[in-house]
């Protein structure tokens, strides 16, 4: 059994993982009216998490991210479906969407759309599915 020497991988991972995660969140937030979206954002996030798994091993990442990825699937589905069901409360047709502009301190005027919430559901579902599949295969001996 030889000892792995993955200094370069670990050093770059600690840098790249943050860039990936940041860009993933950007894609998620921009997705409803410019390139991006919940799906690709979710894929990118799982890529970042996966990179951490490769660099630091299962034990270390589990300590940092104590998340049951399987449970993200129903949570994401519930959010996505919830945005549809919201239309029942407001008495508009199913899957109707709306948006408005709000002014935030520091950020300035920002457009908030209900389509983003649907993307958020997709985002969680994709992370859940990707991580469940990859970790299941990884555990298989």
């Amino acid at each position: 059994m030889y000892k792995t020497n993955d200094l370069i991988l670990r050093t770059t991972t600690s840098l790249i993982a943050f860039i990936l995660l940041g860009f993933a969140v950007y894609l998620l937030l921009a997705g409803h009216n410019s390139p991006g979206g919940g799906f690709v954002g979710g894929l990118m996030t799982s890529a970042a998490i996966l990179l951490m798994y490769i660099a630091y091993g299962v034990e270390a990442v589990k300590k940092v991210l104590p998340v049951n990825f399987m449970m993200l699937i129903p949570i994401g589905l519930a959010i996505a479906l919830g945005t549809g069901i919201g239309s029942f409360i407001f008495g508009v047709p199913f899957l109707s969407q709306t948006f408005d502009y709000y002014t935030f301190p520091l950020f300035g005027k920002i457009e908030l759309a209900t389509a983003m919430l649907f993307d958020l559901g997709v985002y969680f579902t994709v992370i859940g599915v990707m991580m469940t599949i990859i970790l299941t295969i990884a555990k298989d001996q």
């Binding site: 449970m71 699937i73 129903p74 589905l77 519930a78 479906l81 549809g84 069901i85 239309s87 029942f88 508009v92 047709p93 199913f94 899957l95 109707s96 969407q97």
Partner: protein, 493 residues
């Protein structure tokens, strides 16, 4: 605008998502499944009532008017099928806890059950050809998971075949939709119908129609595309087989119904004439399959194929009597097939084998099961006064009006053989000496018989009380024969 149309799709989805959270708590899952399925039944019953009294419910998702957005159309045909789907869901939900799923119940059985119901309901309701494909995929995904649930060796083998054939036909489906969009520039069914009518269904459109027919024929297991069906339907648990047998192939035949009574109706002598022959061949080959085996599960699975043949026969003949017969037979078959699959599941469970040659004398220990099977054999074959008779009578009457004598003969002969194939189960498994199978210990069938009795009594009521059900089937047929009603109600012209 009415959100009522989307509720039968959303309710199972909500149920499925909630049930994922309660997956490890089997008792909670069981109770919730029963509650949700009963709520679904009530809801769809109300929708049915609403549709009959106030006409088609149309919902434009996201407030995008047809043909630009996706529309959901609950017309009388969709409503009655959705109601039947939910009736079967209730029976299966009550049967499932005692179906002997064991550990498999914890492998997300109940969420997938509801995903399947949601997909099936969506396929019935949608008014958009591409959306139909999407709902096909939803129900197929759930069915892949259910068929392989637990991962026994034989299940893996059959699910591979099932997966490949369905992937292939889905691929063809998308291709056909691309052709439709390329030729007509729309995927909204009402607008497709309108444009096909304007173009007088020229050569290329008929070709696309036939391509769509083959896609749906694969899903519905018509001759010659049925070879994947029987074995893959018998490997999973009986309750899953019942769901598959009652719902999946029926979605295929429903799609043929929709497409060939609404869209491609201008070259009947070209398209529908072929259907009659496909129907006849499906009957013959299906029943030969059923007679060839002594595995009781396979006998029932093979019986799906002639039933699909009978339904297609009505579409092929394409007159009002035959179409009403098809609708009646479709509903009848959904109910009786699920009942038979569940019943055969119980028989296999109590006998410990599904091989007829090893059975005998069960009537002494389980008289109720025996008589239930006896009645269902009669219902299936179409002996008066049961529901199968009414459907077949209308179908054959329609065929007679259309002067298709040959198919009537095939149909009658097939009915006789269907009766024989199911009576064979009764004779071999239930007749005979008390200890034909040696000393068998009486097993408890608690919870398994009630859903079967529920479904069978429904079949009997549909036959005996045909006076009340026939007018509904008749009005659906009249409605289907005039595609303009559908087009006008969706496009609001």
């Amino acid at each position: 605008m009415s959100n009522l149309a989307v509720l039968p799709i959303i309710l199972p989805l909500v149920a499925a998502i909630i049930l994922i959270f309660f997956n490890s708590k089997v008792h909670v899952s069981r109770a919730l499944t029963k509650v949700f399925s009963l709520v679904g039944l009530g809801l769809t019953g109300y929708i049915m009532w609403e549709v009959i009294n106030n006409g088609t419910i149309i919902m434009e998702t996201g407030d995008w008017i047809a043909p630009y957005g996706i529309v959901l159309v609950v017309d009388s045909l969709a409503a009655v099928l959705v109601l039947t789907t939910n009736i079967i869901a209730v029976a299966c939900a009550f049967y499932a806890p005692s179906a002997g799923l064991g550990e498999k119940e914890k492998y997300y059985f109940y969420p997938f059950f509801f995903f399947l119901i949601s997909g099936v309901t969506g396929a019935f309701i949608t008014g958009d050809l591409f959306n139909l494909f999407v709902f096909f995929e939803v129900l197929l995904m759930a069915s892949y998971a259910l068929i392989v649930l637990g991962g026994d060796k034989v299940q893996l083998r059959e699910s591979l075949k099932y997966l490949l054939i369905n992937l292939f036909s889905s691929m063809l489906f998308v291709t056909a939709i691309a052709f439709v969009y390329g030729a007509l520039g729309t995927v909204n069914m009402a607008q497709i119908a309108q444009r096909v009518q304007e173009a007088d269904q020229q050569g290329i459109l008929t070709t696309v129609g036939i391509l769509l027919f083959f896609v749906f024929a694969t899903k519905a297991a018509l001759f010659p595309l049925y070879y994947w069906l029987p074995k893959s339907y018998v490997v999973p648990n009986p309750v899953i087989s019942a769901l598959f047998g009652a719902l999946l192939t029926k979605v295929g035949i429903y799609s043929i119904f929709r497409v060939f009574t609404l869209i491609f109706v201008h070259r009947v002598e070209l398209t529908h004439e072929i259907f009659i022959w496909f129907a006849g061949l499906s009957m013959i080959f299906g029943i030969i399959g059923a007679l060839s085996t002594s595995n009781i599960k396979l006998i029932v699975a093979y019986n799906i194929i002639p039933a699909i043949g009978f339904i297609l026969l009505g579409i092929g003949v394409m007159n009002e009597t035959a179409i009403s017969g098809s609708v009646y037979y479709l509903i009848h078959d959904m109910v009786i097939k699920s009942a038979l699959f569940l019943l055969v599941g119980v028989i296999t469970y109590v006998a410990g084998t599904s091989d007829l040659k090893k059975m005998g004398g069960l009537i002494h220990t389980y008289p109720l099961l025996g008589w239930l099977l006896f009645i269902s054999a009669f219902v299936l074959a179409g002996i008066p006064p049961f529901s199968g008779f009414i459907g077949k009578l209308l179908l054959l009457q329609g065929a007679f009006e259309g002067e298709h004598i040959m198919i009537i003969l095939i149909g009658l002969l097939t009915s006789l053989l269907i009766l024989y194939s199911v009576a064979k189960i009764f004779i071999n498994a239930f007749w005979g000496d008390k200890d034909a199978m040696g000393q068998i210990k009486k097993k408890s069938t608690k919870g398994m018989v009630a859903p079967i009795v529920f479904l069978l009594s429904l079949s009997v009521i549909m036959g005996v009380g045909a006076e009340y059900f026939y007018p509904v089937a008749d009005s659906i047929a009249a409605y289907l024969m005039d595609p303009q009603i559908y087009i006008d109600s969706v496009l609001k012209e």
